[in-house]
């Protein structure tokens, strides 16, 4: 008979351990909470403690043509990237897992490599390539760049789902007389949909929050939201940035909730 771990009324070591971890969690989360405080604080520059609650910074953010153009461009680019990376990434994951390709491990590593190469170098390399080929810096070039760094996430989440599901379901459908095309659309696709979709939402966030890849690829007056925020912050630190940050954070948090509902968080955090 082993004793229960909590036999002592107060365990100092355990208390210290929990306190430490609570502090570390606060370190992770408080900065984000503080942004909310500044977004609602009406003083003209960042000051602490807050003196009241107002929506003036949200008004400034949503009323500024510069911010709004950037927000719409970012949303538009991220939406296109979402669709492109879902299609390209899911197809690639299917080929990797079902295509009997030689050198599968190496290919998978290759398709994951944009995550390992410093993003600012991906931006630099694309900038050089666009410069040399004389195409300038079109929006589709930015979309292609974002898709490149977003596709690995879709491949990863789709592979995770493909890895987990029972192949005999597909085989059973085939044995029962379904054509390969029908097996694909009626069995495989519905089964991998959560993984593809979760990867797509991730792709959206990666594009929407993308800075280093965009830095060299945007043109003046055609900058995405993170680039505009970055340039603004170099000279000004007011509540408009906090309001813009809040909009981004709320977007990200809603995405976390969607992800959790779709696939569970565990499936895609495996690094």
């Amino acid at each position: 008979m082993s004793a229960t771990p909590n036999r002592r009324p107060f365990d100092a070591g355990r208390a210290a351990y929990l306190t430490l971890n609570a502090l570390l969690l606060a370190f992770l989360l408080l900065p984000i909470a503080i942004v909310l405080v500044f977004a609602l604080n009406p003083t003209p520059y960042i000051s602490f403690p807050p003196v009241g609650v107002s929506l003036r910074w949200f008004e400034k953010f949503f009323g500024s043509a510069e911010f709004m153009n950037a927000l719409w461009l970012s949303l538009w680019v991220a939406s296109v990237v979402l669709v492109l990376s879902i299609v390209i990434g899911a197809a690639c994951a299917l080929a990797l897992s079902r295509g009997n390709l030689p050198g599968r491990a190496a290919l998978t590593a290759f398709f994951m490599s944009p995550l390992m190469v410093p993003a600012i170098l991906t931006g630099l390399a694309l900038f050089q390539a666009y410069l040399l080929s004389g195409i300038g810096r079109p929006v589709w070039g930015l979309i292609a760049a974002h898709t490149l760094v977003a596709v690995p996430y879709v491949i990863r989440t789709t592979l995770a789902v493909l890895h987990n599901f029972d192949r005999r379901i597909e085989e059973a459908a085939a044995v029962l007389g379904a054509s390969p095309v029908r097996v694909f659309f009626e069995v495989t696709l519905p089964l991998i949909r959560p993984g593809v979709f979760a990867g797509g939402v991730f792709a959206f966030i990666v594009s929407f929050d993308q800075f280093p890849v965009s830095l060299f690829l945007v043109v003046p007056k055609g900058e995405t939201l993170p680039v505009v925020l970055f340039n603004y912050m170099k000279f000004d630190l007011d509540g408009a940035i906090a309001a813009a940050s809040m909009v981004s954070i709320l977007l990200a948090l809603s995405v976390v909730l969607v992800l959790e509902r779709l696939i569970g968080l565990k499936a895609y955090v495996k690094l």
Binding site: L28, P118, A125
Partner: protein, 291 residues
């Protein structure tokens, strides 16, 4: 059955991704490497010639800033990594050993939520905390603990604090997986044999989690040496890292060839780290298979 070794028609689905990666990943990096060996733009300037002068400029460093930039990139990366490990390990241990599923999910959410918040936004958060009129300085002055604001930002300290915050989730996630796979009974056995809780941890769990420590550290190091936003906003004039130098060469100096050479140098440093990272992960997976 006989065609098991041959690619099936599904293999063609790899084509769009392959095309995307060749056109927008492999070719651009080849272009960047080629550009770093040219004196100018070889397409528009017929007088551009092959040269190693961009690399010589970095190696001989007559301006006296490039070696310093490389060194501060590596130093900031190293300190960020060590601090992330010290902060990430307790959190990862807590998460890996947590019994309650709900608690586990909540902590996981708390770790991932910052990851889904853009780097620019998180850097902004730290600017509001660490600047002269920021949360910490204002509070300390109001409490009468200091007279003048502490220099918490526009230096290496502020840069590292923000970088740690940004990259610690990667450390936690890598470590949680490894610690979670260590059999808890090993530690219990050590304790039943008379070891204290601390000794059981130091002599059993800690050595067994070493591969995770290495993998997480390499990941955070690779990420933090390529950071651009945080050092350029938090570092002020005090900090100049390799990615900042690259952006300078593209933006203000408009010397894409030298930027390319700096890019190749940064790429080589991070590739070395990635190779080491993959080796460790492979050994980890191999050891896992044997256990």
């Amino acid at each position: 059955m006989t065609t098991a070794a041959r690619p099936s028609p599904i293999a063609w689905l790899i084509a769009p991704a392959g095309l995307l990666f060749v056109l927008f990943f492999v070719l651009p990096f080849a272009v960047m490497t080629a550009m770093s060996f040219y004196s100018g733009n070889p397409v528009t300037n017929p007088n551009a010639f092959l040269t190693t002068r961009h690399y010589e400029r970095f190696i001989f460093d007559t301006a006296g800033i490039f070696h310093e930039a490389l060194w501060s990139t590596l130093r900031i990366g190293l300190i960020t990594t060590v601090v992330s490990l010290l902060i990430g390990y307790p959190l990862a241990h807590w998460m890996a050993r947590m019994q309650s599923r709900l608690g586990h999910a909540l902590v996981l959410m708390a770790v991932i939520a910052p990851m889904l918040t853009g780097i620019v936004v998180r850097t902004f958060a730290w600017m509001t905390i660490l600047q002269d009129k920021g949360v910490i300085n204002t509070t300390l002055i109001q409490w009468g603990l200091i007279e003048k604001p502490l220099p918490l930002m526009y230096n290496e300290f502020g840069t590292i604090v923000a970088l740690v915050h940004i990259y610690v989730p990667f450390m936690v996630l890598t470590l949680t997986g490894v610690i979670g796979r260590i059999d808890e009974r090993l530690e219990q056995a050590a304790r039943s044999l008379g070891a204290g809780r601390l000794r059981a941890f130091v002599e059993v769990t800690l050595p067994l989690s070493l591969p995770g420590i290495l993998a997480g550290s390499l990941l955070v190091f690779a990420l933090s040496i390529s950071a651009y936003v945080t050092p350029s906003l938090m570092g002020g004039t005090d900090v100049l890292t390799l990615p900042m130098l690259i952006a300078q060469q593209v933006g203000t100096s408009f010397n894409p060839n030298f930027a390319g050479a700096l890019g190749v140098i940064l790429l080589l440093v991070s590739l070395a780290i990635v190779v080491a990272y993959n080796r460790i992960l492979a050994r980890l997976a191999g050891g896992q298979g044997m256990a």
